[in-house]
């Protein structure tokens, strides 16, 4: 699980172009949106595409993302349970 969390941090930094953010800067329970990592609505859509492309998880309702993308820890738990690739 910790490998998946590190992998997610690396992917988020790279795919969302988070300049000057390192893996070590992101705690597993940091909020990804708002006061945490400061992601926005377009980033949320990118994360939905990432779930589909890299883990074979299709979110039928984008509102599901609100809970799933709460933190790296929550995301990793969801992916581990639902991934198809």
């Amino acid at each position: 699980m910790s490998e998946l969390r590190e992998e997610l941090k690396e992917k988020i930094i790279e795919q969302l172009n988070l300049e000057d953010v390192a893996v070590a800067d992101i705690a597993d329970d940091d909020s990804l949106f708002g006061d945490g990592l400061g992601l926005d609505s377009i980033d949320a859509l990118e994360l939905i595409v990432m779930l589909d492309k890299d883990y074979g998880i299709k979110l039928s309702d984008p509102k599901e993302g609100r809970k799933i993308f709460e933190s790296i820890g929550v995301m990793a738990d969801y992916i581990a349970e639902h991934r198809t690739k």
């Binding site: 400061g38 859509l45 990118e46 589909d52």
Partner: protein, 205 residues
């Protein structure tokens, strides 16, 4: 408005150099655009959290605009009635190609929302407006080549009909490895006359 119009100041970004009123502000040996624009962003103390999420055209337009607008202390925040009139040749083609590449293979069809949102050239005007809190008139024209005359006529129309107090205008073009920005601020202030000859002369510097 019968006041004579002038070019207050102008900014060029090309050949790995950012210059203001003809004087270099920042230059770097690298010919790679991303290396150059990242270094320029940091060196020029440009503060905008979304800068690195923008496409190349927006980065180029944003930086040139920021060089000009952060110098502007004549209008306080909330009173910045500065219209934006930009133009280029390649529209948003650089980003359009990236989007096309992401949807060309039906078996690997994963369009990026972050790329897609920049598949219009005027999005860069939105980025500039957000940073500088502008709620003004704006337009983005696609020309075959730089047109001093059209920019001048449109800018004068905005100012003479009191649609704006100043106009940020010019040329910002990005296509493949080629990039060029020439933005200038037009108002009643300044010493350079706002006419076709001067606009063309400054563009060619």
């Amino acid at each position: 408005m019968s006041t004579k119009l002038h070019i207050e100041r102008y900014c060029h970004i090309k050949n790995s150099t950012v210059s203001l009123n003809g004087a270099p502000l920042f230059e770097i040996a690298s010919e790679d655009f991303l290396t150059f624009i990242k270094a320029a962003y940091k060196e020029l103390d440009t503060k905008y959290s979304k800068f690195f999420k923008m496409d190349n055209l927006s980065k180029l337009a944003f930086l040139a605009a920021d060089v000009l607008l952060k110098e502007d202390t004549s209008l306080s925040e909330g009173e910045k009635n500065i219209a934006i009139v930009l133009s280029n040749r390649a529209s948003s083609l650089d980003t359009d190609r990236k989007h096309q590449a992401s949807i060309s293979d039906p078996k690997n069809y994963y369009p990026s929302p972050a790329v897609f949102v920049y598949t219009l050239p005027n999005i860069c005007i939105g980025e500039i407006s957000i940073k500088h809190k502008l709620f003004s008139e704006n337009s983005f024209f696609i020309f075959e080549t730089f047109s001093a005359d059209l920019l001048k006529v449109y800018t004068e129309s905005l100012l003479k009909t009191n649609k704006a107090e100043k106009v940020l205008c010019g040329w910002v073009d990005f296509d493949a490895d080629s990039y060029e920005a020439f933005l200038y601020l037009v108002s009643s202030e300044g010493t350079i006359e706002h006419n076709n000859n001067e606009i063309t002369r400054l563009y060619r510097l």
